[in-house]
């Protein structure tokens, strides 16, 4: 468990990762278990009376099917928000948090390059995201029968989770890059938060402005859920955008980290 900075990072955060896994699975499962309540004539009428702009802003347009409901509430909103919070805070800690705590000097005085340390830790963050996402997957699969979540294929569910993990990786990479380049947590968390706010606005609200429909394509929420992977499987273009963005962010942050002074 203490072999290198990859396993050490996971080992040090084992309790935190376990807590997040349980929390995401519990909240996601809780929302999913509400499906039978939504799936009633009264609720359908109520939602039909919502203003269409609000429905679009919340991605609730296809909420009358189990996959549409899960997609909009669980994956598109609640779980997405939790994954953002986790990824940004963990990403900000990879380098910046350690540096601000004054604990980075010691490790960097050992025979490993800064890039190696940073990339191993980012890889560990990815593994923690897969763990958290898997916990939710297990819960959702378990809830399909008892809560009538019909018409969702396991393949599509898996595709949704691939999108979810990459979605988290984007936010983690953003916070990592800003933190690695500056050595400070505030810009790292700020960068992640800014991306989240922009992403949310660009996904639901801004496209309703005439002439800004295209801005949705720039939102991580669109890459997560715009192509409805829960109904349509993997969305290659969206995934590719996220992969490229992760690579660019991680590479930029790592190069900047390699070049600058480590603060005391």
């Amino acid at each position: 468990m203490l072999a290198d900075s990859f396993t050490k990072w996971l080992w040090d955060r084992r309790r935190s990762i376990a807590t997040w896994t349980v929390a995401v699975a519990a909240v996601g499962g809780f929302y999913a278990a509400f499906w039978p309540t939504i799936d009633s004539p009264d609720m359908r009428d109520a939602i039909e009376n919502y203003p269409s702009g609000l429905l679009e802003a919340l991605n609730y347009t296809d909420i009358a099917t189990p996959s549409g409901y899960l997609s909009a509430t669980v994956y598109g909103l609640v779980v997405a928000a939790l994954v953002i919070v986790y990824s940004v805070s963990a990403g900000a800690r990879l380098v910046a948090g350690d540096e601000e705590a004054g604990t980075l000097d010691l490790v960097l005085a050992h025979p490993l390059s800064r890039s190696r340390l940073a990339l191993q830790r980012y890889a560990a963050l990815v593994v923690s995201l897969v763990t958290i996402s898997s916990g939710l997957l297990v819960v959702i699969v378990a809830l399909v029968k008892p809560f009538d979540l019909t018409g969702i294929s396991f393949g599509d569910l898996l595709a949704m989770h691939v999108h979810l993990v990459l979605f988290g990786m984007v936010f983690g990479a953003m916070a990592y890059a800003a933190g690695a380049a500056t050595g400070r947590r505030a810009p790292a968390v700020g960068g992640g938060a800014l991306l989240a706010v922009f992403g949310f606005a660009a996904n639901g609200i801004l496209p309703q402005v005439d002439g800004l429909e295209w801005i949705d394509r720039l939102s991580p929420f669109a890459w997560l859920n715009g192509g409805a992977p829960l109904q349509n499987g993997l969305q290659i273009v969206d995934l590719s955008i996220m992969v490229v963005l992760v690579v660019v962010l991680v590479a930029t942050g790592t190069v900047a980290f390699e070049r600058r002074d480590v603060s005391v």
Binding site: L2, T103, A109
Partner: protein, 301 residues
């Protein structure tokens, strides 16, 4: 002649607002314990962090173990041990956990080495770091710097937080390293600490090396405090003419003075009276240092 363990030429580190190093020329020989003495903020930590490639010089050159810290950082850090001036680690791990991890990053540390050092310094490695006192945390820092028996130890204020017994143990460990032909570079802002440990001492002030002195030679030409208790009261004028003697004070049968130079003349003057006890302290080089080099005591921390 063996290659210098550390050599810097006109090393400058600019922090934008302040200058950390202002043209440092330094040579540390292989196999010596080198004390790097200076007031807080003089540039000691800046120099040390440059050697380990945690920060990069603005200009000038540093060669450590014959390597350039910037381009050969990984290879260099494999061969040296580093103790940060402010040794902070995540508190939610045991000493053993941390030391095992650091040993694994190094690759080759004998399994019993951590236990031996922990026993020597009296550290319980099973305890969580956050439950340890400052001194016990510092022991972990000392162990991780020494455990892989590096060619060069770069230690920033290594004895801070250690009690006198452990300071003595640390001195012994540093001397053992030098006896094996390895090198110790340690910073301090307290002369007495460096005095017990180092072969040579370099004084840094405002980012520049003020002087480098051999501790042995320094000790020979520095004043010692001498105190003699006689069987009966003695006249003060008996000691007035003794060469090298200063601050002579006689109170009844007790003489106190400071001796600078050979002791022969003083001994003969003392021998004229029946003596009960005589005490001659090791010279405190702090005094001689600050007198010789006109280094303000006030900023010496």
């Amino acid at each position: 002649m063996p290659e210098a363990a550390i050599r810097t030429e006109a090393l400058v580190k600019d922090y934008g607002t302040a200058r950390g190093l202002d043209g440092l020329d330094l040579e540390v020989l292989t196999g010596e314990v080198f004390g790097f003495l200076g007031p807080n903020g003089a540039g000691k930590t800046t120099a040390i962090r440059l050697f380990v490639d945690l920060i990069r010089p603005t200009s000038g050159e540093a060669t450590v173990l014959g390597l350039d810290p910037r381009s050969d950082g990984v290879e260099l850090r494999r061969r040296l041990g580093y103790l940060p001036g402010d040794f902070v680690v995540d508190g939610r791990q045991s000493g053993r956990e941390l030391l095992t991890y650091l040993a694994n990053l190094r690759g080759r540390v004998a399994a019993t080495r951590i236990d031996d050092l922990a026993e020597r310094l009296g550290l319980d490695t099973t305890r969580e770091v956050k439950t340890l006192s400052r001194g016990n945390r510092q022991k972990i820092g000392v162990i991780q710097a020494f455990m892989h028996e590096p060619e060069l130890l770069v230690l920033d204020e290594p004895t801070s937080g250690l009690d006198p017994f452990l300071q003595a143990e640390f001195v012994a460990m540093a001397r053992e390293v030098a006896a094996e032909g390895r090198t110790v570079f340690m910073s301090s802002h307290v002369m007495s600490e460096v005095q017990r440990c180092a072969d040579r001492v370099g004084v840094i002030r405002a980012g520049r090396l003020v002087t480098v002195e051999s501790i042995h030679e320094l000790g020979q030409r520095s004043a010692r405090h001498v105190e003699v208790l006689f069987a009966a009261p003695v006249p003060a004028e008996d000691f007035a003419g003794v060469s090298g003697l200063r601050d002579v004070a006689v109170a009844g049968s007790r003489l106190t003075c400071r001796l600078d130079g050979p002791a022969d003349e003083l001994l003969k003057a003392i021998a004229a009276h029946p003596v009960i006890t005589i005490t001659a302290e090791e010279p405190d080089l702090t005094d001689v240092f600050f007198e010789s080099f006109d280094i303000g005591r006030d900023d010496a921390g």
